[in-house]
Amino acid sequence: MTSLPSHTEKKLGLVIDLDICVGCHACVTACKGWNTENYGVPLADEDAYGANPVGSFLNRVHSYEVKPEEGAAQLVHFPKSCLHCDDAPCVTVCPTGASYKRVEDGIVLVNEGDCIGCGLCAWACPYGAREMDPTEQVMKKCTLCVDRIYNENLPEEDREPACVRTCPTGARHFGDLSDPESAVSQLVAERGGMDLMPEQGTAPVNKYLPPRPKDAPTDVLAPLLDITGEEPKGFLGWLDKTLERLG
């Protein structure tokens, strides 16, 4: 049934640090690589070397310019993938039961064998987290690398989503957001982690850490350029005053 579970035992998800992300798109590449070779049908790349390349991705990195009222504009890189919402509208609209939210860990998945490719779940998602694969014509979305995180054939350090494992700056964190003691929950509490589009009422599990406030701009050369320095004393002080008096 595509009804949402009333409660999930865990809330596995990502915490993405917008202060640290440098917009290198390594997570996009790692995600595409892992998810093309593992869970479900491969992610398409049509006309990859031609004039109109198009394909499906489960993770995309936007870049925004943010202009404060005073001071310089900031560039913020913004990775976006499925937020594994508690109140996921994509799940309940599905007519076939292909979309579901797991009770054991809260991951939202698509059973591709049941997907008729109607696209209604992608319409219901406010975040653009679901893309219809142009070749296979089934809905693709982030699986939170469900085939990595429980995979005992992988070394323990690799049992996290490919995007988190690959991030060179440590801007992505993975963990259980239902446990207030978990590292990710602590990070969210400490840094004021936020929901995207709260007005949509989707209760996303993934959280975003806002960029830290910038220091006030300082002119580092100013003290060196201050040629008068302190008021002169002694002989130089007498000379200074005398010369001033001469006009």
């Binding site: 936007h62 504009a73 560039l75 913020v76 509208p89 039961g97 109607c118």
Partner: protein, 291 residues
């Protein structure tokens, strides 16, 4: 939203077919035998033709039967059930009229109610989507039901009733267009709320995540051709409401004129349904700085 021809045809044709079934179920017009057969054939061609068109936009139409499984949560699944049950009930009722000259009143009333519910379920597929503020409103079912009832009365040959319904439908549609225009803004989504960066300052899309297009942009950020929306609204209104009303209410009845009224109404409804999709803006566009 991308105005896919298969979905426009589906909603318009099946809306008309089920609209006609509503009136046939109520015994309007009171036909039996061959003339009943003609009315039912038209209704079934429209309803079933529309449903068939809807499968053209599926990635995997061979799995379409799976869409009957989730009626407890999904409006699309409910619509599939209601459409199927309506067609079965009305087939039994129609068989009574065509072959036995008997009107099974209770069955007819039940079929009419089911046909009405089917159109309502179709409209709820769109009205349920919070992500498309223009659709997420009770005016969406009102407009879909209005088109089904107005078009149904027209096809049923109810001159006076159709004229009145089409006039009322025209007013409702204009009202729906106008008050729908402000709903995206009223829903409160902005680039600032989408990115959560609003408390730093104004947000502008600096670089898109991909150099080409993608499914999200082609499916949900349909910005082309919207510039003629006002003219198209006027044309649609003239064709689905004013012209058929004028023909029915002001001119003496003739079958040729009635046919012109029907064609005019269907053309206008197709344009208005195209606008229903083309003018609808999805909140995901905010991430791209487009709507």
């Amino acid at each position: 939203m991308h105005p896919a021809p298969s979905i426009i045809l589906f909603t318009v044709l099946s809306g008309l077919g089920f609209g006609l079934l509503i009136f046939l179920g109520l015994g309007i017009p009171a036909v039996t035998g061959w003339s009943a057969f003609a009315f039912f054939a038209i209704a079934y061609l429209l309803a079933v033709g529309g449903l068939a068109a809807s499968t053209f936009h599926l990635g995997h139409p061979e799995r379409a039967l799976k869409a009957f499984t989730q009626w407890r949560s999904s409006w699309l699944s409910r619509e599939a059930w209601l459409a199927a049950i309506t067609l079965v009930v009305m087939a039994l009722y129609g068989a009574g009229l065509v072959f036995f000259g008997t009107r099974l009143g209770v069955l007819g009333w039940l079929g009419a109610g089911l046909a009405l519910a089917t159109v309502a379920a179709t409209s709820m597929i769109y009205a349920q989507l919070k992500t498309v503020p223009r659709w997420h409103h009770w005016s969406t079912p009102v407009i879909f039901l209005g088109h089904a009832l107005g078009g149904g009365a027209l096809l049923a040959g109810e001159v006076q009733l159709a004229a009145s319904l089409l006039l009322v439908l025209g007013g409702l549609q204009i009202w729906a267009w106008l008050q729908g225009d402000g709903r995206f803004r009223a829903a409160g989504g902005t680039m600032e709320s989408a990115t959560g960066l609003g408390n730093i300052g104004d947000v502008r899309a600096f670089e898109p995540p991909h150099t080409g297009t993608n499914y999200l942009l082609t499916e949900m950020v349909h910005v082309v051709a919207r510039k003629h929306a006002v003219k198209l609204r006027a044309i649609a209104y003239g064709l689905f409401s004013i012209l058929p009303w004028a023909i029915l209410a002001l001119l003496p009845f003739s079958h040729t004129l009635a046919m012109i009224a029907v064609l005019s109404h269907i053309s206008g409804t197709l344009i208005s349904r195209w606008l229903f999709f083309a003018e609808a803006e999805h909140v995901v566009g905010l991430y791209y700085g487009k709507r």
